[in-house]
Symmetry: C2
Subunit: 515 residues, 2 copies
């Protein structure tokens, strides 16, 4: 990992307790945000994209989008020049695009450890773990409902992974905590068990507000003013519907200067037309409307062009992952995002498999490769996703996180300076020779090849002697090795105490709710 950085956090507070905490810091290497040295793969023709862009504006003007239970949103749209009929917003051609132009092309999300802040947009790629599964699976315990303890373990794993830039959000649903209180515990875990950037709650506007208030404690008002400290996931209720819950969270975040991903959530054939071009049209229409709305709420609010799209098995109605159609849409949405000048969120380690087996491997690698080459800037679900997102798998988390190293290496591009040209090696070795011992190899071998921390490449006999382990067993070993060396990054105890007080007060203020 030649390009990794190691930074000891400098406490925001100068107190003695903070200094003591700092001295306990262990070194956790994290590779910086990926900056691509390679082009994107522009699969679709300009002719096709022109048509999609034209059709998306036709959809917005003729068909319109619904803003449900949200009179204030309708008023904003009306003032901006849209034609409102009931809850339906008809957006004249050109209006949404004009509003989208107010959003920044790139922004920096601050982390409490400044060395872990991430750039989102342009040639960058930020990797974040799986989001949302109600179940977890591991080799020992099988498939079961996720708990807060599972959640905390995933946050630790994300903190320990050298290839993950981001701690994510709902890495799994802590189902043992009431629905209306679990966001507090999830945020506390991200804030205290990791120093990487994270996501806020979106399940109620009030929970988004809690997220902002907890960040004010963690970061302080001064740092909060420097840029967004959360990037949160606002799903569109596809097709073409913006519900009050998600829009309420978006409004809270936009007004507080926090970043949001505006993300159509589409199982193709069900929530969008059964064609790639038709789906891309709908994705673009929904993003245009959602991003434009964010700019009506707060001009200049940082937002990301999102696209969560997969295909469907038309026989069973089950969603399918790692498919060619999903890749075609991922590539196309990336082209549309770049033409629109917005950061792009898509990709991820998607699979439909119930186990971290070969199917999971094929489907996940198909998805990760498409995400990288499609020019994704923010990759949610980059590791740990299993069973169509119903399950967060511990073993798959570390397998996927390991594979993310290949994205880092691929994205760098191949150097072609004198050293990389290796003419000295070719001259030294000559026909029939061997390169292992030559000077060029000795000088370069450590950084030459990406190396897996999970996979086995040993000879058959050695592998057999070591127990003939499959990938799941190798990953289980990696999992326990990683967790054994976990140590929380230092945090000013005063801040931790204020966060605990905030959470206790909030929890005491409302009865438990489990739906």
């Amino acid at each position: 990992m030649g390009d990794a950085v190691s930074v000891r956090r400098r406490g925001r507070s100068g107190g003695g307790a903070a200094r003591r905490a700092e001295r306990t810091a262990i070194r956790v290497d994290v590779a910086p945000t990926i900056h691509r040295g390679i082009p994107t793969f522009d699969m679709h023709s300009d002719e096709a994209l022109d048509i999609i862009e034209h059709n998306a504006e036709t959809v917005l003007e003729e068909i319109g989008v619904n803003f449900v239970d949200n009179p204030a949103a309708l008023a904003l749209w009306r003032d901006a020049g849209a034609d409102i009929r009931g809850e339906r917003v008809h957006i004249p051609r050109g209006l949404s695009r004009k509003l989208c132009a107010m959003a920044p092309a790139r922004f920096t999300q601050l982390a409490r450890n400044p060395a872990r802040s991430v750039e989102i947009g342009g040639d960058s790629l930020v990797l974040a773990p799986v989001y949302g599964p109600p179940f977890v699976r591991d080799i020992g315990g099988g498939r079961r409902y996720a708990t807060l303890a599972d959640f905390e373990t995933f946050v630790k794993l994300a903190y320990l992974s050298p290839w993950l830039h981001h701690s994510g959000g709902t890495v799994c649903e802590p189902t043992d905590v009431p629905v209306n209180k679990r966001h507090l515990d999830m945020l506390f875990a991200h804030m205290t068990l990791s120093d990487k950037p994270f996501m806020g709650s979106v399940t109620e506007p009030s929970r988004a507000q809690d997220s902002v208030e907890m960040c004010e404690i963690l970061f302080g008002a001064e740092r909060m003013a420097q840029g967004p400290v959360m990037t949160s996931l606002i799903n569109v209720n596809s097709p073409l519907t913006f519900d009050a819950t998600m829009m309420g969270a978006l409004e809270v975040y936009a007004r507080a200067g926090q970043a949001c991903i505006i993300s159509p959530f589409i199982v193709g054939g069900a929530m969008a037309p059964v064609s790639v071009t038709g789906t891309l049209t709908q994705v673009l229409a929904e993003v245009l409307a959602g991003v434009a709305y964010s700019q009506l709420v707060k001009p200049g609010a940082p937002v990301i062009f999102g696209a969560f799209v997969t295909s469907i098995d038309m026989n069973s109605g089950a969603p399918t992952f790692g498919t060619p159609e999903a890749a075609q849409i991922t590539y196309g949405a990336g082209q549309l995002a770049r033409r629109l000048g917005l950061p792009y969120r898509s990709g991820g380690g998607f699979c439909g498999s119930k186990l971290p087996d070969a199917q999971a491997g094929y489907e996940t690698a198909n998805s990760l490769n498409a995400g990288l080459l499609a020019g994704v800037n923010f990759m949610l679900h980059a590791c740990g996703w299993l069973e169509g997102g119903l399950v967060a798998s511990f073993e798959k988390f570390v397998m996927d996180a390991d594979q993310l190293g290949t994205l880092h290496k691929l994205a760098q591009g191949a150097p072609f300076d004198d050293n990389a040209q290796a003419m000295d090696a070719l001259r030294e070795v000559g026909p029939g020779g061997h390169f292992l011992g030559c000077d060029h190899t000795q000088n370069n071998y450590k950084q030459a090849f990406w190396r897996s921390d999970v996979f086995d490449c040993k000879p058959f006999e050695t592998w057999a002697e070591e127990g003939a382990r499959d990938t799941q067993a190798l990953a289980a070993q990696r999992l326990s090795d990683l967790l054994a060396r976990y140590e929380a990054p230092p945090l000013d105890p005063d801040i931790e105490s204020q966060l605990r007080t905030y959470i206790e007060r909030k929890k005491a203020s409302m009865p438990d709710a489990f739906i």
Copy 2:
């Protein structure tokens, strides 16, 4: 499989036996050669490629290449203007490129079933199975030496796969047949158990000659004159060495009008410099020399720019697969092949895993995706490869072969005609609606999404009731389903009898050899 074709073979002979054989034909659908509707991914800059091309010619001129034990080759090179010192051939800048220009940019390899002939070069992609493993593995029998019976099973599986265009060559080594005779049995299996195109023997020039003679029986002189009926694999003894065995086979094939792949065989860091740019330089130098030599032997001989390159684990010396460096080289060699105007062979379903598990899935999918987007025209090892090529896996063969369907679908590109734009569907469904029942979905759902014949996308409960099978178990089921419906494609019994007689005579003419 909307684009599949089904053709009943028309016998070359008009005899009654041939007609009777024809009447037994079963329908085996095979998708035609892939013609890409999408661009290639040109990862490397023109500046880098210019340097590599310049350096490759420097290697050929200054360092030179060895043609070992091959005075006739040295004489051909001398006459062409090369500088010969011992067995070392120094090729003046420009000479190899001038000779390469005599090779065709694309050609058709004929199959005995004319509908299965394949185009190689340009925008085509031909998929062929694994080549060379001495071992096989399946879920019941584990890992063991391969036999002729295993070989025959793989030929049947390749025949039955809708996504494989090619029967390949040494799909595994039939180790129960003497080394000097097994090529006869392998060719007989390809000729009789399948009607797809195949590869000839390269392990001795005499065995290449036997391959040509058996093809003369199978195809007849008239059809042989129409174009190559074999594409055979000529590995370069990297670095920069062309041995007499491989060159002898190349000479036989080139003179008989048969196609060859000139393929550097490189584990990076061992047989080439430990850098992507240095390795690409060596690959290009070796291909330039090898292809140029084929044109000295027979101007216009059909040849393919080959590149088998992988990385190495610098700690253990073990080769590694599905790595970012292998992908970088696969992309780069494709760009170099296109600049040279030659068909390109690379890619494949490579992995280092010992089992068809998640590691195998990730590594294989990484390799297959890079192969497709790199513009590979002839993909050897597209399915069945396990354990660094030491093992041909039955289950992985059908998993990989299934995944090849995704390459077909991706390569087509996404249509964007009126039907694909789906504006009628968007208008019909509107905000908050559902697309499953709309007219557009009903008219298009059958062809809309690629569908796996192996993977499971059912709900968890159904999957659990059906035995909670992992991918290997699902593939074993697919394997037995496929083989249960195998029936040999019809062949004129006179031809089959002549082939048997030829083989018996050849086998009787020499003692068994096992090394």
